[in-house]
C-alpha cells in the first residue's frame, strides 16, 4: 500500500504553495487519492509557508500525523518541521540554504536547488521546479505528467517561459538520477480513475452553489473565504449570474436579501469578523422570511484573530447571534466532497423554509485540496420556494399566511396581485406592521419556529455514523474534523476498543433522535472541537444531562488522528476504572 505525506516548507513567495499545488495535481493525475493541508503566512510576501500533500492508493480521511518526505527550502523550514519527519523518512533539502546539524535517523538528499536554478537555468525562481524534477526522478512520479502540467500552467506566458520551466524540471530530475537511491518510496501510479477532480473545499462549495442555481453573490474580501468570491466572479457571469463586491458585510447580506426577495438565488461567504457584521441582516432574513445562504469559513478569533489559521469558534454566533427569538439553520461542512452537496442542501433548506441557512466551513477545509469524484448535482434535487397559486393572489394576498407547516406563499415582484411588504417589523399575515399586537406576535413567532422544527427530520437523516454502532465510547464531532475522527475511530476499533463516532451535518436544529440513541447507550462521549471552551458540547449539554468529555484544541491547527486516538485511549482507561463520564476541563 502506498501512503505518503510530503511537506514542503519555505519563505512565502518562494514558490512553496505552487510547488505543493503542482505536486498535488501531478499525483492526482497519476491516479492517487490526495489530501492536502496548507498553512501560509498572514503577510503578503515573506513569512513562513508550508504545503502538505498526502497521497495514497486508498481512501484518505486526514492530512496524516507524520511526514514521510520533508522538503525545506530554507533553514527556518528545516528547524520548524524536522521534528515531524518520521523515523527513516526522506529529507530533501536545498543544500545552498539549509545545513542540517546531522541527518541521523533519516535518509537525506542534499540538492543544491538554488545554484542549479541560478547556474543552469539563470532564473533563481525556478528552484521549486528543480525540486519537482527531483521528486519525479527519486520517486518515479511520471515525468511526462509534470511536463504536461507545466505546459498548461505557463503556456499563456509564452514558449520561453515554458521551456525554462521544462529545463528546470529536467535539471532536478537528472541531478537526483546521478545519486544512488537509498529510500523505498515509489509513486509510479495509483489506481484512481482520472475522471475525478482535484478541488479545494472553497472551490467545491462554489461549484455546488452554481449547481443549485445561484444567480447573485455579494461579498466583501476576507481570508479565508475570498477565493469563493473570486471563483464565482469568474464563473458566474458565464451562466448569466453576477458577483458584486459590496462596501462591507452588512451590505453583502443586505444585497443577498434584496436579490432573494426579488426572486434570485443569492448567497454570501465570509469569515468570523464579517459574519459578526452580518448578524443584524440574519435577523431581517428570519423576520421577513427571506431565503438566504450565508457561508462562514471560520478562522481564529476573536476580533481579527489569526486570519490564516483554522478554528471552529463561530458556532455560538451562528446559532445564537442576534436579538430576539430568531430561528435559523446552521450546517457544518465535513469534507471537500460534502462542500458541494452540503451547499446544495443549504439552498434547498433556505428556499423550502424561507429562512437563512448558515453554513460553517473553516480554513482547514476551505483551503485544502482533495481528489473527489466528479460531483453529480442530480444527487440533491433542487427545491424551489413556494410561490402563490392563482387563487392566493389578489387584493387580499397573504404573504405570511399561517399554514400548518408554517411555510407561506412568497410572491416575486413582477407578479400581478402578489403585492406585499417584506417586513422587518412584526407583521400580520398580509405583511402589515403589527408592533402592538401581542397575540399576533405569538402566532407569528410560532409560525417561524414551526418551520425550524420541521427541519429536525432532515437533521436526523443527514447524520453519519462510523465505527461501532452502539459503542461504549462515543465520539461526536462536527464540521471539518469528520475524516480525522473517522480515521482515529478506525485505529481504535482495530485495536479492540468499542468506539463509534456520530457526525451531524445539520447542527441546528440538532438531530435529537439519532443523538439520544447514541448518547444514552454510551458509557462516555467525547466531543472534539477546535475551540477553547467547547461550543458544540455546550449546545449538547442544553439537551442532554450527560457528562461529555471535551477535547478542545485551540492552537490554530487542525486535529490529527493521533489527537483523537489518544483521547479515546485515555477515556477507555477511565471507563475501565469506572470513572468514564467525568467532564474534563477544557484544555488547550
Amino acid at each position: 500500500m502506498t501512503d505518503c505525506v510530503f511537506r514542503i516548507g519555505g519563505e512565502g513567495g518562494e514558490g512553496v504553495i505552487s510547488t505543493g499545488e503542482l505536486l498535488t495535481l501531478t499525483l492526482a493525475r497519476s491516479g492517487y487519492e490526495i489530501y492536502t493541508f496548507r498553512t501560509y503566512p498572514a503577510e503578503i510576501k515573506g513569512g513562513h509557508a508550508n504545503y502538505q500533500v498526502r497521497a495514497s492508493d486508498t481512501l484518505l480521511l486526514s492530512q496524516g500525523a507524520w511526514v514521510d518526505v520533508l522538503v525545506p527550502f530554507n533553514e527556518e523550514a528545516y528547524q520548524k518541521h524536522i521534528k515531524d519527519l518520521r523515523k527513516g523518512g526522506v529529507l530533501i533539502y536545498d543544500s545552498d540554504s539549509v545545513t542540517p546539524p546531522n541527518t541521523d535517523g533519516c535518509i537525506a538528499y542534499p540538492v543544491p536547488m538554488t545554484s542549479l536554478a541560478t547556474e543552469k537555468i539563470g532564473v533563481k525562481l525556478t528552484k521549486n521546479i528543480v525540486a519537482l524534477g527531483v521528486f519525479s526522478g527519486l520517486f518515479d512520479i511520471p515525468f511526462e505528467k509534470f511536463e504536461e502540467l507545466l505546459k498548461e500552467r505557463f503556456g499563456r506566458k509564452g514558449e520561453a517561459v515554458v521551456n525554462k520551466n521544462l529545463q528546470a524540471l529536467k535539471v532536478g530530475f537528472d541531478y537526483i538520477k546521478s545519486q544512488p537511491k537509498r529510500d523505498t518510496i515509489r509513486m509510479g501510479g495509483g489506481p484512481r480513475q482520472i475522471k475525478e477532480l482535484v478541488l479545494s473545499g472553497n472551490e467545491s462549495l462554489a461549484l455546488g452553489a452554481i449547481a443549485s442555481g445561484l444567480k447573485l453573490y455579494a461579498g466583501y474580501p476576507i481570508t479565508p473565504a475570498t477565493d469563493i468570491m473570486e471563483f464565482l466572479a469568474k464563473e458566474l457571469p458565464k451562466i448569466g449570474g453576477f458577483v458584486v463586491q459590496t462596501e462591507d458585510e452588512i451590505s453583502a447580506l443586505g444585497t443577498v436579501l434584496g436579490a432573494s426577495y426579488a426572486g434570485s438565488k443569492a448567497m454570501t461567504a465570509t469569515s468570523g469578523p464579517g459574519f459578526s457584521l452580518m448578524v443584524e441582516m440574519l435577523g431581517l432574513a428570519v423576520m421577513s422570511e427571506t431565503p438566504a445562504v450565508v457561508v462562514d469559513v471560520q478562522r481564529v478569533g476573536p476580533s481579527t484573530g489569526m486570519p490564516t489559521k483554522t478554528e471552529q469558534g463561530d458556532l455560538y454566533l451562528a446559532v445564537y447571534g442576534g436579538h430576539g427569538s430568531s430561528p435559523r439553520v446552521v450546517m457544518a461542512l465535513t469534507s471537500v466532497e460534502d462542500c458541494f452537496y452540503g451547499i446544495m442542501r443549504a439552498f434547498n433548506i433556505a428556499e423550502q423554509f424561507q429562512m437563512p441557512v448558515v453554513v460553517l466551513s473553516d480554513q482547514y477545509l476551505g483551503h485544502r485540496k482533495a481528489t473527489v469524484p466528479a460531483p453529480d448535482p442530480s444527487k440533491v434535487p433542487v427545491i424551489e420556494r413556494r410561490t402563490p397559486t392563482p387563487d392566493e393572489l389578489g387584493p387580499d394576498f397573504k404573504r405570511y399566511l399561517l399554514t400548518p407547516e408554517g411555510v407561506s406563499p412568497m410572491s416575486i415582484p413582477g407578479t400581478e396581485g402578489g403585492y406585499y411588504v417584506a417586513e422587518g417589523l412584526e407583521h400580520t399575515e398580509i405583511g402589515y406592521p403589527a408592533a402592538s399586537n401581542y397575540e399576533n406576535h405569538v402566532r407569528m413567532t410560532q409560525k417561524r419556529y414551526k418551520k425550524f422544527y420541521a427541519i429536525e427530520a432532515l437533521s436526523n437523516e443527514l447524520t453519519r455514523q462510523y465505527g461501532v454502532e452502539q459503542p461504549e465510547i462515543g465520539v461526536i464531532g462536527w464540521g471539518s474534523s469528520e475524516g480525522v475522527i473517522r480515521e482515529a475511530v478506525q485505529m481504535a476499533v482495530e485495536q479492540g476498543y468499542s468506539v463509534g463516532a456520530m457526525h451531524p451535518k445539520i447542527l441546528y436544529p440538532l438531530p435529537l433522535v439519532r443523538l439520544t440513541k447514541f448518547i444514552v447507550g454510551a458509557k462516555a462521549v467525547i466531543i472534539p472541537e477546535l475551540n477553547y471552551t467547547g461550543q458544540f458540547a455546550t449546545l449538547l449539554r442544553k439537551r442532554f444531562a450527560k457528562d461529555f468529555v471535551q477535547l478542545n484544541k485551540a492552537t490554530g491547527l487542525p486535529f490529527t488522528p493521533q489527537d483523537i486516538f489518544d483521547k479515546i485511549e485515555e477515556v477507555a482507561t477511565n471507563v475501565r476504572r469506572g470513572s468514564g463520564s467525568r467532564t474534563h476541563a477544557a484544555s488547550v
Binding site: K215, I239, T255, A266, E280, G414, Y419, V421, G424
Partner: protein
C-alpha cells in the same frame, strides 16, 4: 428608468393602499407620499413592477402605503437591499425611501458606493433634521445649537450638506425638493424615476412635532436659477454650497453608464470565452 407603455388608466388613487399613514397630522411626509402617488401615476408605473425599499424612521413606513411590492428593511440599509433587488431584476422600478438619520448617519457608509456605482434607482430622503420616531434627537442635518433630548446644551456638530456630498460621490442626478410644494416635488420625483442612473432627492419634509420648520423654511426657498447649468459638476457643487437660500430643483444631472450596463458588459465579456455548462467548468479541475 423608463415606464412601460401601458394604457393610461392608473390614477394616483390606484397606488394607495387601505392603510392610513401613521404620521402626525401636518407631517411633511404626507406631502411627499402624495407627490409620489402623482409621480407614479404620471409615469404609469405598473405596481407589479415597482419595489419601494425603505429604512427605519417615520418615512420608513412608506411602502405600506403604496400599492406595489415593498421591503421595509433595517435602519440604514435601504441601498444594499435596493442593490440586490435591482440586480436580481433590472426591469423593476426601484425606489429607495428613508430619512436623514437613516441615510446620512447609520446608513451613511452605503451612499458613496451606491452613488458611484450609478445603480438605476431613485433614492428619496425625507429630510427633517431630527429623529422623529425616537422623539426628536438631532440628526446629521440638524443645525449647530439644536437643542433636544440628547443635546440638552445644544448640538456642537455642524450639519452635513447632502447635496454637496452626493455630487462629490458621483451621483448622476442630485436635486432638492420641499414637501410643501407638491406640484414641483411631483415633477422632481418623476424626473428622478425617469433618470437612468442613481437619482437622489433631498426632500425637506418638516417634522411638525419635534422640529417644526414650517415658518423658517418657506422664506428661504428659491428655485434653482434658470441659467444654472446642471450638467456642470463644479457649478452644481458651487450651488449646493450656497447658504443664502435653500434652492429647490435639479442641481446636477448627467448621463453615465449605469451599474446594470456594466453588469451586462461583464456578462457578455465572460460569455465570449464561454464554457457555460457546469461539466465544462469541472473540466478545469480534472
Amino acid at each position: 428608468m423608463s415606464a412601460e407603455a401601458v394604457a393610461p388608466e392608473l390614477t394616483p388613487q390606484a397606488y394607495k393602499t387601505d392603510e392610513h399613514p401613521i404620521w402626525c397630522p401636518g407631517c411633511g411626509d404626507f406631502g411627499v407620499l402624495s407627490s409620489l402617488y402623482q409621480s407614479l401615476a404620471g409615469l404609469q408605473i405598473p405596481p407589479k413592477d415597482l419595489v419601494v425599499v425603505s429604512g427605519i424612521g417615520c418615512s420608513g413606513r412608506t411602502p405600506g402605503f403604496v400599492r406595489s411590492y415593498g421591503f421595509h428593511v433595517l435602519h440604514g440599509r435601504v441601498l444594499p437591499v435596493a442593490l440586490g433587488v435591482k440586480l436580481a431584476n433590472p426591469k423593476l422600478t426601484v425606489i429607495g425611501v428613508g430619512g436623514d438619520g437613516d441615510g446620512f448617519a447609520i446608513g451613511g457608509g452605503h451612499i458613496p458606493h451606491a452613488a458611484r456605482r450609478n445603480l438605476d434607482i431613485a433614492y428619496l430622503v425625507m429630510d427633517n433634521s431630527t429623529y422623529g420616531l425616537t422623539k426628536g434627537q438631532y440628526s446629521p442635518t440638524a443645525p449647530k445649537g439644536f437643542q433636544a433630548g440628547s443635546t440638552p446644551y445644544g448640538n456642537i456638530e455642524k450639519p452635513l450638506n447632502p447635496l454637496a456630498m452626493l455630487i462629490a460621490y458621483g451621483a448622476t442626478f442630485v436635486a432638492r425638493g420641499y414637501s410643501g410644494k407638491p406640484k414641483e416635488l411631483t415633477e422632481l420625483i418623476k424626473k428622478a424615476i425617469d433618470h437612468k442612473g442613481f437619482a437622489f432627492i433631498d426632500i425637506i419634509s418638516p417634522c411638525i412635532t419635534f422640529y417644526n420648520t414650517y415658518k423658517v423654511i418657506p422664506p428661504r426657498l428659491a428655485e434653482v436659477p434658470a441659467d444654472h447649468d446642471a450638467s456642470d459638476r463644479a457649478k452644481a457643487f458651487e450651488l449646493s454650497l450656497k447658504e443664502d437660500r435653500m434652492y429647490l430643483g435639479v442641481f446636477y444631472q448627467v448621463q453615465e453608464p449605469t451599474f446594470e450596463d456594466g453588469v451586462a458588459e461583464v456578462k457578455s465579456r465572460a460569455q465570449a470565452s464561454s464554457r457555460p455548462r457546469l461539466e465544462e467548468i469541472f473540466a478545469e479541475f480534472s
